[in-house]
Protein backbone atom coordinates (compact mmCIF):
# COMPACT_ATOMS: atom_id res chain seq x y z
CA UNK A 1 0.00 0.00 0.00
CA UNK A 2 2.86 2.34 0.85
CA UNK A 3 4.51 1.64 -2.52
CA UNK A 4 1.24 2.34 -4.27
CA UNK A 5 0.91 5.62 -2.37
CA UNK A 6 4.46 6.50 -3.47
CA UNK A 7 3.71 5.65 -7.09
CA UNK A 8 0.60 7.80 -6.99
CA UNK A 9 2.64 10.65 -5.55
CA UNK A 10 0.64 10.84 -2.33
CA UNK A 11 2.49 12.07 0.75
CA UNK A 12 3.43 9.64 3.56
CA UNK A 13 0.71 9.28 6.17
CA UNK A 14 -2.09 9.47 3.57
CA UNK A 15 -3.04 5.88 4.31
CA UNK A 16 -3.89 6.94 7.84
CA UNK A 17 -6.21 9.70 6.63
CA UNK A 18 -7.74 7.30 4.11
CA UNK A 19 -8.77 5.08 7.01
CA UNK A 20 -11.03 7.89 8.15
CA UNK A 21 -13.23 7.26 5.10
CA UNK A 22 -14.59 3.81 6.07
CA UNK A 23 -15.06 4.83 9.67
CA UNK A 24 -17.14 7.85 8.69
CA UNK A 25 -19.19 5.67 6.35
CA UNK A 26 -19.75 3.07 9.06
CA UNK A 27 -20.79 5.70 11.62
CA UNK A 28 -23.14 7.48 9.22
CA UNK A 29 -24.55 4.20 7.87
CA UNK A 30 -25.30 2.67 11.26
CA UNK A 31 -26.58 6.00 12.67
CA UNK A 32 -28.93 6.43 9.72
CA UNK A 33 -30.10 2.81 9.88
CA UNK A 34 -31.06 3.26 13.53
CA UNK A 35 -33.16 6.32 12.67
CA UNK A 36 -35.04 4.98 9.64
CA UNK A 37 -36.57 1.78 8.41
CA UNK A 38 -36.77 2.25 4.66
CA UNK A 39 -33.64 1.76 2.57
CA UNK A 40 -34.34 4.97 0.67
CA UNK A 41 -34.31 7.06 3.85
CA UNK A 42 -31.24 5.22 5.15
CA UNK A 43 -29.21 5.93 1.99
CA UNK A 44 -30.36 9.53 1.85
CA UNK A 45 -29.51 10.15 5.49
CA UNK A 46 -26.16 8.32 5.18
CA UNK A 47 -25.21 10.49 2.22
CA UNK A 48 -26.18 13.71 4.01
CA UNK A 49 -24.48 12.71 7.26
CA UNK A 50 -21.44 11.35 5.45
CA UNK A 51 -20.56 14.32 3.27
CA UNK A 52 -21.24 16.76 6.10
CA UNK A 53 -18.82 14.81 8.29
CA UNK A 54 -16.17 14.82 5.56
CA UNK A 55 -16.49 18.57 5.01
CA UNK A 56 -16.20 19.16 8.74
CA UNK A 57 -13.20 16.83 9.05
CA UNK A 58 -11.55 18.46 6.05
CA UNK A 59 -12.00 21.89 7.61
CA UNK A 60 -10.45 20.74 10.88
CA UNK A 61 -7.52 19.07 9.09
CA UNK A 62 -6.96 22.22 7.04
CA UNK A 63 -6.92 24.29 10.23
CA UNK A 64 -4.47 21.90 11.90
CA UNK A 65 -2.14 22.05 8.89
CA UNK A 66 -2.43 25.83 8.47
CA UNK A 67 -2.20 26.83 12.15
CA UNK A 68 1.63 26.80 12.37
CA UNK A 69 1.79 28.94 9.23
CA UNK A 70 -0.67 31.61 10.38
CA UNK A 71 -0.39 34.32 13.10
CA UNK A 72 -0.99 32.92 16.60
CA UNK A 73 -4.38 34.58 17.10
CA UNK A 74 -6.10 33.12 14.00
CA UNK A 75 -7.01 29.71 15.38
CA UNK A 76 -8.32 30.97 18.78
CA UNK A 77 -10.30 33.71 17.00
CA UNK A 78 -11.92 31.20 14.66
CA UNK A 79 -12.74 28.95 17.60
CA UNK A 80 -14.34 31.81 19.54
CA UNK A 81 -16.32 32.90 16.48
CA UNK A 82 -17.54 29.32 15.99
CA UNK A 83 -18.68 29.09 19.62
CA UNK A 84 -20.43 32.49 19.40
CA UNK A 85 -22.13 31.48 16.16
CA UNK A 86 -23.45 28.31 17.75
CA UNK A 87 -24.66 30.32 20.75
CA UNK A 88 -26.48 32.72 18.44
CA UNK A 89 -28.16 29.81 16.64
CA UNK A 90 -29.33 28.33 19.96
CA UNK A 91 -30.55 31.67 21.29
CA UNK A 92 -32.47 32.27 18.06
CA UNK A 93 -33.93 28.74 18.23
CA UNK A 94 -34.91 29.20 21.87
CA UNK A 95 -36.49 32.61 21.21
CA UNK A 96 -38.42 31.34 18.22
CA UNK A 97 -39.70 28.33 20.15
CA UNK A 98 -40.81 30.57 23.04
CA UNK A 99 -42.57 32.96 20.62
CA UNK A 100 -44.32 30.06 18.87
CA UNK A 101 -45.61 28.82 22.22
CA UNK A 102 -46.88 32.29 23.20
CA UNK A 103 -48.61 32.74 19.84
CA UNK A 104 -50.22 29.33 19.99
CA UNK A 105 -51.72 30.17 23.40
CA UNK A 106 -52.93 33.61 22.28
CA UNK A 107 -53.39 33.77 18.50
CA UNK A 108 -54.61 37.39 18.70
Amino acid sequence: MLSMMGILGLPPGTEIYCHAIPIVLIISGVWSATRHDSWNDIFRHTWRFGWTAFVFMGAIMALIILTPLLPWFVFPTLLILYVLWNLAVWIRYGTRTAMDEIESEDPS
Partner: protein, 159 residues
Protein backbone atom coordinates in the same frame (compact mmCIF):
# COMPACT_ATOMS: atom_id res chain seq x y z
CA UNK B 1 -38.10 -3.92 5.71
CA UNK B 2 -40.67 -4.00 8.50
CA UNK B 3 -40.69 -1.90 11.63
CA UNK B 4 -40.09 -3.42 15.06
CA UNK B 5 -42.66 -6.08 15.84
CA UNK B 6 -43.85 -5.27 19.33
CA UNK B 7 -45.68 -8.57 19.68
CA UNK B 8 -42.67 -10.86 19.12
CA UNK B 9 -42.10 -13.68 21.56
CA UNK B 10 -38.81 -12.42 22.98
CA UNK B 11 -38.91 -10.50 26.23
CA UNK B 12 -37.17 -7.09 26.21
CA UNK B 13 -34.44 -8.48 28.47
CA UNK B 14 -33.73 -11.40 26.12
CA UNK B 15 -33.84 -9.11 23.11
CA UNK B 16 -31.40 -6.73 24.81
CA UNK B 17 -29.01 -9.58 25.59
CA UNK B 18 -29.14 -11.10 22.11
CA UNK B 19 -28.74 -7.71 20.42
CA UNK B 20 -25.81 -6.79 22.63
CA UNK B 21 -23.97 -10.10 22.39
CA UNK B 22 -24.18 -10.34 18.60
CA UNK B 23 -24.80 -7.08 16.70
CA UNK B 24 -27.91 -7.29 14.57
CA UNK B 25 -29.08 -10.64 15.98
CA UNK B 26 -31.96 -8.95 17.79
CA UNK B 27 -33.18 -7.57 14.46
CA UNK B 28 -32.85 -10.95 12.77
CA UNK B 29 -34.88 -12.57 15.56
CA UNK B 30 -37.57 -9.91 14.99
CA UNK B 31 -37.72 -10.70 11.27
CA UNK B 32 -35.83 -7.52 10.29
CA UNK B 33 -33.22 -9.68 8.59
CA UNK B 34 -31.76 -7.18 6.11
CA UNK B 35 -31.19 -4.55 8.77
CA UNK B 36 -29.76 -7.16 11.16
CA UNK B 37 -27.31 -8.42 8.58
CA UNK B 38 -26.28 -4.84 7.74
CA UNK B 39 -25.47 -4.15 11.38
CA UNK B 40 -23.70 -7.50 11.82
CA UNK B 41 -21.44 -6.95 8.82
CA UNK B 42 -20.67 -3.29 9.55
CA UNK B 43 -20.07 -3.61 13.28
CA UNK B 44 -18.19 -6.88 13.34
CA UNK B 45 -16.31 -5.78 10.26
CA UNK B 46 -15.24 -2.57 11.96
CA UNK B 47 -14.36 -4.33 15.21
CA UNK B 48 -12.27 -7.13 13.76
CA UNK B 49 -10.60 -4.85 11.26
CA UNK B 50 -9.58 -2.63 14.16
CA UNK B 51 -8.19 -5.66 15.95
CA UNK B 52 -6.29 -6.65 12.80
CA UNK B 53 -4.80 -3.14 12.49
CA UNK B 54 -3.52 -3.39 16.06
CA UNK B 55 -2.19 -6.93 15.62
CA UNK B 56 -5.03 -8.28 17.81
CA UNK B 57 -3.67 -6.42 20.84
CA UNK B 58 -5.99 -3.41 21.06
CA UNK B 59 -8.81 -4.98 23.04
CA UNK B 60 -7.96 -5.79 26.63
CA UNK B 61 -9.10 -4.80 30.09
CA UNK B 62 -6.75 -3.39 32.70
CA UNK B 63 -7.74 -1.17 35.61
CA UNK B 64 -4.77 -0.16 37.74
CA UNK B 65 -1.16 -1.41 37.64
CA UNK B 66 -0.06 1.78 35.90
CA UNK B 67 -2.70 1.74 33.16
CA UNK B 68 -6.45 2.32 33.08
CA UNK B 69 -7.77 1.06 29.77
CA UNK B 70 -10.75 3.42 29.35
CA UNK B 71 -11.20 2.40 25.72
CA UNK B 72 -12.40 -1.01 26.90
CA UNK B 73 -15.55 0.62 28.29
CA UNK B 74 -16.46 1.54 24.71
CA UNK B 75 -15.20 -1.72 23.18
CA UNK B 76 -17.36 -3.86 25.51
CA UNK B 77 -20.40 -2.42 23.72
CA UNK B 78 -19.77 -4.87 20.87
CA UNK B 79 -20.76 -7.75 23.13
CA UNK B 80 -19.40 -11.28 22.92
CA UNK B 81 -16.41 -10.33 20.79
CA UNK B 82 -14.95 -8.25 23.64
CA UNK B 83 -16.00 -10.43 26.58
CA UNK B 84 -12.80 -12.52 26.63
CA UNK B 85 -11.00 -9.28 27.55
CA UNK B 86 -12.96 -9.13 30.79
CA UNK B 87 -12.05 -12.69 31.74
CA UNK B 88 -8.41 -12.24 30.73
CA UNK B 89 -8.15 -8.90 32.55
CA UNK B 90 -9.52 -10.43 35.74
CA UNK B 91 -7.07 -13.32 35.48
CA UNK B 92 -4.16 -10.93 34.83
CA UNK B 93 -5.18 -8.94 37.90
CA UNK B 94 -4.98 -12.16 39.98
CA UNK B 95 -1.64 -13.00 38.29
CA UNK B 96 -3.11 -16.25 37.02
CA UNK B 97 -1.99 -16.16 33.39
CA UNK B 98 -4.19 -16.40 30.29
CA UNK B 99 -7.39 -18.44 30.27
CA UNK B 100 -6.57 -21.73 28.47
CA UNK B 101 -9.48 -21.52 26.01
CA UNK B 102 -8.53 -18.02 24.85
CA UNK B 103 -4.74 -18.26 24.92
CA UNK B 104 -3.26 -14.76 24.75
CA UNK B 105 -6.33 -13.41 22.90
CA UNK B 106 -7.30 -10.12 24.58
CA UNK B 107 -4.83 -10.78 27.42
CA UNK B 108 -3.40 -7.45 28.75
CA UNK B 109 0.12 -7.03 27.31
CA UNK B 110 3.07 -6.33 29.59
CA UNK B 111 4.47 -2.79 29.66
CA UNK B 112 7.53 -3.84 27.64
CA UNK B 113 5.28 -5.50 25.07
CA UNK B 114 3.09 -2.40 24.90
CA UNK B 115 6.09 -0.10 24.40
CA UNK B 116 7.38 -2.31 21.61
CA UNK B 117 3.93 -2.29 19.97
CA UNK B 118 3.71 1.51 20.13
CA UNK B 119 7.19 1.88 18.65
CA UNK B 120 6.48 -0.55 15.84
CA UNK B 121 2.87 0.22 14.97
CA UNK B 122 2.68 3.88 15.91
CA UNK B 123 -0.60 5.42 14.75
CA UNK B 124 -1.97 2.07 13.54
CA UNK B 125 -2.42 1.00 17.15
CA UNK B 126 -4.53 4.10 17.89
CA UNK B 127 -6.49 3.65 14.67
CA UNK B 128 -7.21 0.03 15.54
CA UNK B 129 -8.38 1.08 19.00
CA UNK B 130 -10.60 3.74 17.41
CA UNK B 131 -12.25 1.26 15.04
CA UNK B 132 -13.03 -1.14 17.90
CA UNK B 133 -14.35 1.65 20.13
CA UNK B 134 -16.60 3.00 17.37
CA UNK B 135 -18.00 -0.49 16.75
CA UNK B 136 -18.76 -0.92 20.44
CA UNK B 137 -20.47 2.45 20.80
CA UNK B 138 -22.53 2.00 17.63
CA UNK B 139 -23.80 -1.36 18.90
CA UNK B 140 -25.46 0.51 21.76
CA UNK B 141 -27.53 2.42 19.20
CA UNK B 142 -28.31 -0.85 17.44
CA UNK B 143 -29.59 -2.38 20.69
CA UNK B 144 -31.88 0.63 21.18
CA UNK B 145 -33.16 0.19 17.63
CA UNK B 146 -33.90 -3.48 18.27
CA UNK B 147 -35.80 -2.69 21.47
CA UNK B 148 -37.71 0.43 20.44
CA UNK B 149 -37.51 0.71 16.67
CA UNK B 150 -36.01 3.56 14.61
CA UNK B 151 -35.42 6.78 16.56
CA UNK B 152 -37.21 9.07 14.13
CA UNK B 153 -40.21 6.84 13.32
CA UNK B 154 -42.61 8.92 15.46
CA UNK B 155 -41.45 12.14 13.78
CA UNK B 156 -42.07 10.63 10.34
CA UNK B 157 -45.56 9.54 11.38
CA UNK B 158 -46.44 13.08 12.46
CA UNK B 159 -45.36 14.62 9.10
Amino acid sequence: MTTADKSNRLTPQTLFLISWLIPGMGHICQGRTQKGLLFLVLLWGSFFYGMYLGEWQVVYFRFGNGETRFSYFAQIGIGAAALPGLVQGWRAEKEQGPFPLFGRFQFPPEKKELDELHNRLGRWLDLGTLYTMVAGLLNILVVFDALWGPASLKIEMLD
